[in-house]
């Protein structure tokens, strides 16, 4: 087992951790606006780490350039889509969640 495989395994482990944590956050959070938080940031970071691990495993070739294109597009598109969903919900008049004892 050489050093490249070990670094790839570390990146894949951290990326899978962030993806699973994002999924748990989307299921468990109480409000729509708080559910945007794991969806927008955590998920993007996890996928980017997994694809960086694949780039390190592959080395410099045509495949790694394709992977880099996928990373750049996801890094731009995923927060943009999340922001669009949040703005659509806000314009539709959805109120943010509050604690019950505050009222």
């Amino acid at each position: 087992m050489n050093i490249t495989t070990i670094i790839t395994a570390i990146f894949l482990t951290i990326g899978c951790f962030f993806s699973v944590v994002a999924a748990i956050g989307v299921v468990r959070f109480p409000d729509f606006y708080s559910r945007m938080h794991p969806a927008g940031k955590n998920d993007t970071l996890g996928q980017t780490l997994i694809l960086i691990g694949l780039i390190i495993y592959e080395g410099f070739s045509f495949v790694s350039i394709k992977l880099l294109l996928i990373i750049i597009f996801i890094f731009i598109a995923n927060p943009t889509a999340t922001h669009a969903i949040a703005k659509a919900a806000y314009l539709a008049g959805l109120k943010p969640w509050e604690k019950e004892e505050k009222k």
């Binding site: 395994a9 894949l12 729509f32 998920d43 394709k66 996928i70 597009f73 889509a81 669009a84 969903i85």
Partner: protein, 84 residues
Amino acid sequence: MFNIAAIAIVLAAFLILYRAIKGPMMYDRALAINIIGTKTVVILALIGFIYKRPHFLDIALVYALINFIATFAILKYIERDRLD
């Protein structure tokens, strides 16, 4: 190594499918569909490395583009009840 990562991502996608089915509003469902689509991109890239076929990366790139457009199409349909 790659197949274990793919299994973990599939389990995360199934967790989010719960939110897509149960979610109280349409916006929750749109958000869940967006996340499942972006996880599918990673699953496709991992499948290309598992079976040693790099052509799957083209499918992953096209799926990322389609997923981005689909989210906006769903939002526009929710907001205006039509797509023109």
